[in-house]
C-alpha cells in the first residue's frame, strides 16, 4: 500500500561519491568516442552565457564552475533570475535564440560541448545528457499517445525501428511507474504526476548519463512530489544515473541531492555537500535564504527577510553581486569580485568573509528586523 524508503537507499547527507555505492541494475556505460580517459563525468569551467537584448547584454550566467561525478545528484538552487535555468540550458545547448555561450567550457567526459557546433552537439544531447524542462508536463503533444512520444527520441536518435522503440518505450514507462497499458493514453487522460513521469521516461529514452530536471516538482502536490523525488532516487540507484536538480525549493534539494550549488545573480555563492551547506551555511546569501524557508521541523514563525531585490543583470554591480543587499557587506565587497575559496569540508564559498587561508568557520549574519 505504501512505500517507505527502500532498504539501503542512498542518503542525501554525507560526502559525494565518485562511483555509486549500490550495484543495482546498472548497465556498463559505453563512453563516446572522443571521451578523454579518466576525465570526470561533467566539468563546467567558468561558464558564461549572455543574452542579447536590443543594445543591452544580460549577463545571465557569469562565471559558473562546478563538477558532477558519476552517480551524483547535484542541486542548483537560487531564486528566479539567478541563472540556474540558463545554466541548465547551456549544458544541453537549448538556449533561446538571443542567448550565447560566450566563454568557459562544458566538459562531458573531457569533451568540451561548448566548443561544438550546433550539429555536432546533437550527438550528445539526449544521448549523454538530457533534460526535463520546467512545466514540461504541460508541453506534451496533446494529439499523440504518450508511448509514441516517449518512443520518438529512440527512433530519431538511436535509429531504432518503430516496433522495438515502442517496446523500449513501454519498458521506460514501467520503469517510471506508469503501467505499460497506460502508454496508449493521450496526455490529457493522465494526471499531472503521471505526465511528469512520462517526461522523465522521455528524458531516459536514449539512456543518458546525466538527467537535468528543471523545477521537476514545482507544480505538483506534496505527495506527488514525494513520489517523483523517490522515483528519481530509485532511478539514480538502479541506472547509475547522475542528476542535476534545478529548483528554488531548497527543501527538495535537501531531501534528494548529495551536493548543492547556491546561485545568485549569475554566479555561484556557495557550493558543497548538502549536509554541510544546509546545516552550517557560510555565505550570507545562503544563510538568509535558508532562514527565509519555512521549516516544519524547526521553530515556528522564525522567518527572515532578504531586503531589496536581485540586481539588473544588464548592469550588474561591481564586485560581489550580493553586496547591495548583504547585511555583512564591507568596503571591499563592492569593489572586488570575491574569489572562490575551498575549505577542508569540501565547501566552496565566494565571499570576502571567507578569504583564502581563513578557518572557514561560518560567520553568522544578522536577520532583517
Amino acid at each position: 500500500m505504501t512505500t517507505g524508503a527502500p532498504a539501503g537507499s542512498a542518503t542525501s547527507a554525507g560526502p559525494a561519491t565518485n562511483s555509486p555505492g549500490t550495484a543495482g541494475e546498472r548497465r556498463p556505460r559505453t563512453l563516446p568516442k572522443q571521451a578523454v580517459p579518466g576525465a570526470p563525468l561533467l566539468e563546467v569551467d567558468d561558464l558564461r552565457t549572455y543574452f542579447a537584448l536590443g543594445s543591452d547584454t544580460v549577463r545571465a550566467v557569469d562565471g559558473v564552475s562546478f563538477r558532477l561525478d558519476a552517480g551524483e545528484a547535484l542541486g542548483i538552487a537560487g531564486e528566479s533570475g539567478c541563472g540556474k535555468t540558463t545554466t541548465a540550458l547551456s549544458l544541453v545547448r537549448l538556449l533561446p535564440g538571443n542567448a550565447r555561450i560566450v566563454g568557459g567550457a562544458v566538459r562531458l567526459y573531457g569533451i568540451d560541448l561548448a566548443a561544438k557546433s550546433d550539429t555536432a552537439i546533437r550527438r550528445y544531447r539526449w544521448r549523454e545528457i538530457s533534460i526535463v524542462f520546467q512545466g514540461a508536463m504541460n508541453a506534451l503533444n496533446p494529439v499523440t499517445r504518450v508511448r509514441d512520444q516517449v518512443a520518438e527520441p529512440i527512433v530519431e536518435r538511436l535509429g531504432v525501428g518503430r516496433r522495438a522503440a515502442n517496446r523500449r518505450a513501454g519498458d521506460l514507462l514501467e520503469l517510471v511507474g506508469i503501467p505499460r497499458a497506460r502508454g496508449s493514453a493521450y496526455p490529457h487522460e493522465l494526471s499531472g504526476g503521471m505526465r511528469q513521469r512520462a517526461m522523465i521516461a522521455m528524458a531516459l529514452a536514449c539512456d543518458p548519463a546525466i538527467v537535468i530536471g528543471d523545477e521537476p516538482t514545482t507544480a505538483l502536490d506534496v505527495m506527488v512530489q514525494a513520489q517523483i523525488l523517490d522515483l528519481l532516487e530509485r532511478l539514480r540507484e538502479r541506472l547509475g544515473l547522475s542528476l542535476i536538480l534545478i529548483t528554488h525549493d531548497l527543501s527538495v534539494i535537501a531531501e534528494t541531492c548529495d551536493r548543492v550549488l547556491i546561485m545568485y545573480a549569475g554566479r555561484v555563492a556557495e557550493e558543497g555537500p548538502v549536509g554541510e551547506v544546509f546545516t552550517r551555511p557560510r555565505h550570507p546569501y545562503t544563510q538568509k535564504l535558508l532562514a527565509a524557508f519555512p521549516n516544519i521541523r524547526a521553530d515556528r514563525r522564525a522567518l527572515d527577510v532578504i531586503p531589496g531585490s536581485p540586481p539588473d543583470l544588464r548592469t550588474p554591480p561591481p564586485g560581489c553581486r550580493f553586496a547591495p543587499r548583504c547585511p555583512a557587506a564591507m568596503a571591499v565587497c563592492s569593489e572586488v569580485v570575491p574569489p572562490d575559496v575551498r575549505f577542508a569540508d569540501r565547501v566552496r564559498v565566494a565571499c570576502h568573509l571567507y578569504p583564502e587561508g581563513s578557518s572557514g568557520e561560518p560567520v553568522p549574519v544578522a536577520a532583517t528586523p
Binding site: T11, P179, V224, D230, P294, I296, A302, I306, P364
Partner: protein, 365 residues
C-alpha cells in the same frame, strides 16, 4: 543555522468568539450530461467538491485550510467570499445565516466585511486599471467614499498599510510596472480598503519568490495584529501553514480529515493522511536515514471528486485501513487539546499506531 536569534513574529492568542461557521457545507457540481446519460439506469455523475464540512473560525485567528489539489479547499474559500453558491449546508456569519443573501444591503454589508486575496498577482490586477483605481474600486462600487478626497485618502492609507510607499507614486502606476511582490501588496491593499473583518487568502504567496514570501507573510501577520483581522488561509504547503496558522484544518476529497492547533496537527497527527503529509513535507534540514525510513509515500494520486470511495474516502490509500473504513465514513473525533481527527482509529481519542518501515522494496504499482 544563524547564531543570532531569528526574528519571531508576534502571535496574538486567538479570541474565543466565532466569526464565521460553516455547517455541513456541500458544493456539488453536476457532471456534464452526455446523451448516454439519458439511457435508463444510468446515474448522472456528480462532482462532490465539498462534501459536508463543519468549520468554525474564531475572530482574530489564522485558520489554515490545507490540502492537495482536489481537496475542495479552494471551493470552500470561494463559498465564503460568495463566488460559488453552496448546494447544501449553511454559512453562519456572526450568528446570522448568510447562506443565501437576497437582500442587496445585506449582501453589500457581507462583502464589505469579507474580502479575498487570490493566488496570482499577475492575474488579479486588471492590466488596464491603475493601481489607485484598483484599490478604490471597492469604494466606488459600494459608494462608500464620502468625497473625492475621502476616496483618495482611503486609497493612500490602504497602499501605505500594505507597505507600498510612497503611496501617491504607486497609486498612479499600472500593474505591468510592478514586480510580483508589489502586485500582491496592491491586492492586499485592495482587500483592506473597506476595513474587512475576514480575509480569505488563497495561496497568496505561492507564486512569489522565497525571499518575497516572507515579507508578505509578515505583512499579513502585522495587519492581523494591527487591525484585528481574521484569516482563512488556504494552501497546499504545510510548512507555510505551520509558520502562519493558529489552527490547521486538513482537507481531503471534500472533507476535513483533521483540525486542531497547528503544533498538534503537525507534531502529533491523529489521521493517517495528515501523518503521511507531514512525513513527506521536505525541509531544509537534510533527513537522516532514520527519518527517511518513516516517510509514508502514498501510492497513486487523489481520486477525482466524481468517484469518491465508499466509507472513509481515504481508505484505498491508507496504510492503516481496516474493515470498518471501507463501509462507514468516520466523523471527527475529539482527541484532546482542541484537536479532532476523522478516523476510526482516533475513536476514543486514541493515538495512531506506529507503522514499521516497509522492508525490501515495496515499489508502487
Amino acid at each position: 543555522m544563524t547564531a543570532t536569534p531569528p526574528v519571531t513574529v508576534p502571535t496574538t492568542p486567538p479570541a474565543t468568539d466565532e466569526l464565521i461557521r460553516l455547517e455541513g457545507l456541500e458544493v456539488h457540481f453536476p457532471v456534464r450530461r452526455a446523451l448516454v446519460d439519458l439511457l435508463p439506469g444510468r446515474r448522472r455523475g456528480v462532482v462532490r467538491a465539498v462534501d459536508g464540512i463543519d468549520l468554525a473560525i474564531r475572530r482574530g485567528e489564522v485558520l489554515a485550510l490545507v490540502g492537495e489539489s482536489g481537496s475542495g479547499k479552494t471551493t470552500t474559500g470561494r463559498v465564503v467570499v460568495k463566488l460559488t453558491a453552496p448546494t447544501g449546508g449553511r454559512v453562519i456569519f456572526e450568528g446570522r445565516d448568510v447562506t443565501t443573501l437576497r437582500d442587496r444591503e445585506a449582501l453589500r454589508d457581507y462583502r464589505r466585511r469579507v474580502q479575498v486575496i487570490f493566488q496570482d498577482p499577475y492575474e488579479t490586477l486588471n492590466p488596464k486599471q491603475s493601481i489607485g483605481d484598483f484599490v478604490a474600486e471597492p469604494l466606488d462600487v459600494n459608494r462608500l467614499a464620502t468625497s473625492r478626497s475621502d476616496r483618495r485618502e482611503r486609497v493612500l492609507a490602504a497602499l501605505d498599510a500594505a507597505g507600498l510607499r510612497p503611496a501617491e507614486d504607486f497609486a498612479r502606476r499600472y500593474p505591468h510596472e510592478l514586480s510580483g511582490g508589489q502586485r500582491q501588496r496592491v491586492v492586499i491593499a485592495g482587500a483592506l480598503v473597506m476595513d474587512p473583518e475576514l480575509v480569505v487568502a488563497d495561496e497568496p504567496v505561492s507564486m512569489l519568490d522565497v525571499s518575497i514570501r516572507t515579507e508578505l507573510l509578515r505583512l499579513m501577520l502585522d495587519l492581523r495584529a494591527a487591525r484585528g483581522l481574521t484569516y482563512l488561509f488556504i494552501t497546499h504547503d504545510l510548512a507555510l501553514a505551520w509558520v502562519l496558522a493558529d489552527r490547521i484544518a486538513v482537507m481531503y476529497l471534500g472533507r476535513i480529515m483533521e483540525i486542531g492547533p497547528a503544533e498538534r496537527v503537525i507534531g502529533d497527527p491523529h489521521n493517517p493522511y495528515t501523518r503521511a503529509l507531514v512525513s513527506v513535507s521536505p525541509t531544509t534540514t537534510p533527513p537522516t536515514p532514520g527519518e527517511r525510513a518513516t516517510r509514508t509515500i502514498l501510492v497513486g494520486e487523489t481520486p477525482d471528486a466524481a468517484h469518491i470511495p465508499s466509507g472513509c474516502r481515504f481508505h484505498p490509500r491508507c496504510p492503516l485501513a481496516f474493515e470498518r473504513c471501507r463501509s462507514d465514513e468516520p466523523p471527527l473525533f475529539d482527541v484532546g487539546h482542541g484537536q479532532q481527527a476523522a478516523c476510526w482509529l482516533a475513536e476514543g481519542g486514541r493515538a495512531l499506531p506506529v507503522v514499521a518501515a516497509a522492508s525490501g522494496d515495496a515499489r508502487d504499482a
